[in-house]
Structure formats: structure tokens, C-alpha cells
Assembly symmetry: C2
Homo-oligomer: 290 residues x 2
């Protein structure tokens, strides 16, 4: 069995580690436009060789772990080239534009759109690790449009990885993910910007920043190569979430300006119920190896 | 030696653990307006008995670990009551109003204003732990106004705790801390609010939120009892930081609206340099016991 992986970073690399375990005797071929990453993936043993277009006809599985704009740009071409038994799975963080792209492709049945809710702020093949997807949600879109046998192959694999499968409409996916993930990144990047602009002397940040600032600004370390395309492709829902966020900040600010601290107190009390939800997420993430 | 601790939560409780180690044979007396916390602190052995106003005359050290508005309200009265050899230290998160409050008090020399840059999102005496202050910055304000012998007593103790001492003007402290700490809390609370408003079905947050959202929204678990007074007392600087933050969010939004993703890319690249600063903070925090 031949498996191709396009994009050998954190996401593709971590899936490659599992593919090798799950698909006995599979030959893993990979490519990355970053040649250093491609070399690293080879020397780390994530892949056995370099993937080239001549291989596409023989692939049983082609995994796309590249930025969402690159998926949108190349997916049609990958589907054109894949052999009659192959399945292409993408792991992009937005889903509507990608599904739309191939909606009428004659080989639509050989494609499965997914979004694994997993990642760290690190990137590249050296960041890949085995437990990245353990107990993480794997969103599957438009499963009825994928060939049932190929879908079963993919679902069986994801379940073996102990991922938690959830089906979702691609547009609904993009709307929710804008709030729950994309907005966090913007709020964190802009917090980093605001503090860096104000504090020219970095030693002040170093001395005065506690673990709270560190946690809130963590996502400002994320890769612009990954995130610029996400904001571009999910523009409308991201703007909607950003408008809501700015409006809430202005409401908070207005209450402060009129010294209405009782309102702020009650509001923070309400928001505190996020504790329960976060506890669920933490508990879920802490069960690896247990 | 008699030591008093007013406020037996995370901050006061963790200082009490160290006071017992550092000041041999000290008798620790404490009080908290939350009687459950006071009972817990007694049964956990953080304190030996309940502090009452009759004790003030004999205290060599009185630690104030209560919300900043309570410090501002009661500090004069505590100074009035403390015996001639006692030192009062406050650990409040704002410093200008507190220093101003006692600027002309006849016993000003018996007071030291500090801000330990340490905390977690948890509260109460059960949250107190020994390593909370290890390698953490301890800001000292207006040290020239404290009796040198009493100042030495405090500094020797903080150094024994391996805290990193830094002197700072109280107004400058409040300006910097608004950006580096207070703003993070507002950005996190408002992120929590925006997501909770949108996602009525909590299972969607649960399934779709990764570790990124969890990290960014962590401070939204913080106690409104602690944070409302901070926003109130540091109102001007917090509003300044909030204005800067909202302006940056609007600039980001405007670039998205006009499809100027190259500007966003370059901006995120710039902000990525926060990595270096955060690495320093993480390294510092990870050396306990090493």
C-alpha cells in the first residue's frame, strides 16, 4: 500500500506517524515545498521517500496537510491525478471553500474533507508527535459524498487513533470555528502587538508578565504562513466574530467609563461559567496513556 | 515573633507558608472576611490562630493580601493600630492609590508597598502552594520611604524566597501592569463572552475548542471579587490600554475588509518576536527544584 503526504509539518508529520502504525507495510511518500522540512521528514523516518506526480496513480491514500489556500488551489489537480482506488483526505482548518471547489468534480467520491481539532503553536516535522490527535475531535464534512468504502477506511483509521468523530456541515463548521479558534488567534496577536508597542523595553515585559499574560498571548507565536490563508478564506465569519468581540470590548469600556463596576462584576461572574467547559477540555486532554 | 496575615487566599496563604519557614518560631495569626477560608487556613495549618485587633500592637509583620480596594480602605487604620516595631507589607496589584493613601501618615516608615508578579486563576487557601513565588518578580515601591531596618527585614525574606526584586515608581508600575496584566484579563473575559453568546450549545465549544482557545480564555476563570477593584482603581491606565487594544483590532479588521492580507502577514511576523520574550519567562518558571 502506498500513502502520500503533502505537507510534512506538525499536522502531516503527526498523521504520518500514525499511518505507519495503522497501515501495515505501507510505503509512505511525502513532499513539502520547504525542502529543509522534506529532508528532516526523511531523516526522522516520517516518510520513506519523496512523493512525485508519477506516484499519484498508485496511491491508496493521499493526505493534504498544507495551508488552506494551497488546498483550495491544488485539490482539483490532485483529484484529476489520483488513481481509481485512491482516497484524498484534507486536514484544512476551513471547509466550505474546499468542499465547494470540488463539488462537481467527477471524482468527488474519492475525497473526504476533515478538520482535526489539534495543533500546537510549533511547526515543522520536528514538532510532529504521536499523541497529537489522541482524544481530539475530527470533524468530517459531507461524508455522504464520499465513497462508503473509502469513508470506512478513513473512519476506521481515525477511530484507531482514538479521535472523536463528528459530522458537520462545512459552512456551519466555518462559522463555529471562526469563533472558537480563529478569533482566539486574532485576540492574542493583537494583545501581543499592543504590549510590544507600549513596552519598548522588553525587560519590563519580562519582569512584569506573569503566567496569565504568557497564556493569553501564546497564540501570537503562531505561524503567519498558516494563519494568513485561514483569515483570507474564512474572511466573512472571522469578520463577524471580530465585530462581536470589538463590540463586547466597547461595552466593557463604556461601563468602566461611567464607573458602573457592578455591571462588570456581574458580567465577569457570568463569564466564569466557561470554567466548566474548559474543565471538560482539560480532562479530555489529560487522559493520554491512562 | 508574631506575624499577622489579613486575607488567607492564594496570595496570603502562599506567603504564610514561607513566613513559617523563614521566621523561626513565628506565631502566625490570620483573618479573612470569608469565614470558610479562615477555617480552612486554620485546619490546613497555614495559620496558628485567628488575628484580632488586640494583636496589632504586638505584630512585627502584618501582611495585607486582600483586594486592592480593601487595602486602600483599611490601610490607614492598620497603620494607626500597628505597634512601634511592626512593618506592614501590602501585596496589592495596583500601587499608586495605595501609596498616595498613606503618603502623609505619621507611621509611613512602617509601610512597604509591593506587588508580587505571581498568581494562578485559582483562589482560596486550598489553592496556596509553596513554589508560587519562586523566581517571580517582586516589585517594591517607594522603598526610600520605609524605615531601612524594616526594609532590610522584608528584602532578606523575599530574597530567601528567591524572588527577584525590582524597584519601581508606583505610577509607572500601574501604567505598565495595565498593559502586561490587566489588559490580558479583559481580552480573555471578552473572548469568553463572545464565544458563550454565540455558541448556545456548549457541546460545540467542547468539541471544537482546541488547546489554543483554552489557553487564550484561561484568565476568564479569574475571580471578579479580585478583578473588579483592580479595574476600578487602575481605571485610567486600563482604559488607555483598552483603547490601544481596540484600535489595533480595528486596524486588523480594516486590513481584512480591504483584502490586504500581505499587511496582516507582515504584522503577524513582527508580533512573532514575542516568542523570545515568552521563552525567557517560561525558562525562568521552569527552574523550581533544579
Amino acid at each position: 500500500m502506498k500513502i502520500g503526504v503533502v505537507g510534512l509539518g506538525l499536522i502531516g508529520g503527526s498523521f504520518a506517524i500514525h499511518a505507519r502504525k495503522h497501515f501495515a507495510n505501507a510505503q509512505l511518500l511525502g513532499s513539502d515545498h520547504n525542502k529543509t522540512h522534506q529532508e528532516q521528514a526523511l531523516s526522522l523516518g516520517l516518510i520513506d521517500g519523496v512523493l512525485s506526480s508519477e506516484d499519484y496513480n498508485d496511491l491508496e491514500l493521499l493526505l493534504l496537510a498544507i495551508p488552506v489556500d494551497a488546498i483550495e488551489q491544488h485539490l482539483t489537480q490532485f483529484l484529476d491525478q489520483i488513481g481509481p482506488k485512491g482516497l484524498i483526505i484534507d486536514f484544512g482548518s476551513t471547509k466550505a471553500a474546499i468542499c465547494q471547489q470540488v463539488a462537481n468534480h467527477p471524482k468527488r467520491k474519492q475525497f473526504l474533507a476533515t478538520h482535526p481539532i489539534a495543533g500546537t503553536e510549533f511547526s515543522g516535522p520536528t514538532a510532529a508527535f504521536e499523541s497529537l490527535y489522541f482524544k481530539k475531535t475530527q470533524i468530517l464534512c459531507e461524508t455522504e459524498k464520499t465513497n462508503p468504502e473509502l469513508l470506512l477506511l478513513a473512519k476506521t483509521w481515525f477511530e484507531a487513533m482514538q479521535m472523536e468523530l463528528r459530522e458537520m456541515d462545512p459552512v456551519e463548521h466555518d462559522r463555529h470555528i471562526a469563533y472558537v479558534s480563529h478569533l482566539s488567534h486574532i485576540s492574542s496577536f493583537m494583545l501581543g502587538k499592543t504590549v510590544l508597542e507600549k513596552e519598548k523595553d522588553q525587560s519590563t515585559i519580562f519582569d512584569m508578565a506573569g503566567s496569565g499574560f504568557e497564556s493569553t498571548v501564546r497564540l501570537a507565536k503562531s505561524s503567519p504562513d498558516m494563519w494568513t490563508p485561514i483569515f483570507k478564506i474564512n474572511k466573512n465569519f472571522v469578520l463577524e466574530s471580530l465585530n462581536d468581540y470589538i463590540r463586547n470590548l466597547k461595552i466593557f469600556k463604556a461601563a468602566m467609563e461611567r464607573d458602573d463596576f457592578e455591571v462588570l462584576y456581574q458580567e465577569m461572574k457570568q463569564i466564569n461559567r466557561i470554567k466548566t467547559i474548559l474543565k471538560g477540555i482539560t480532562d479530555k486532554n489529560n487522559t493520554y496513556g491512562k
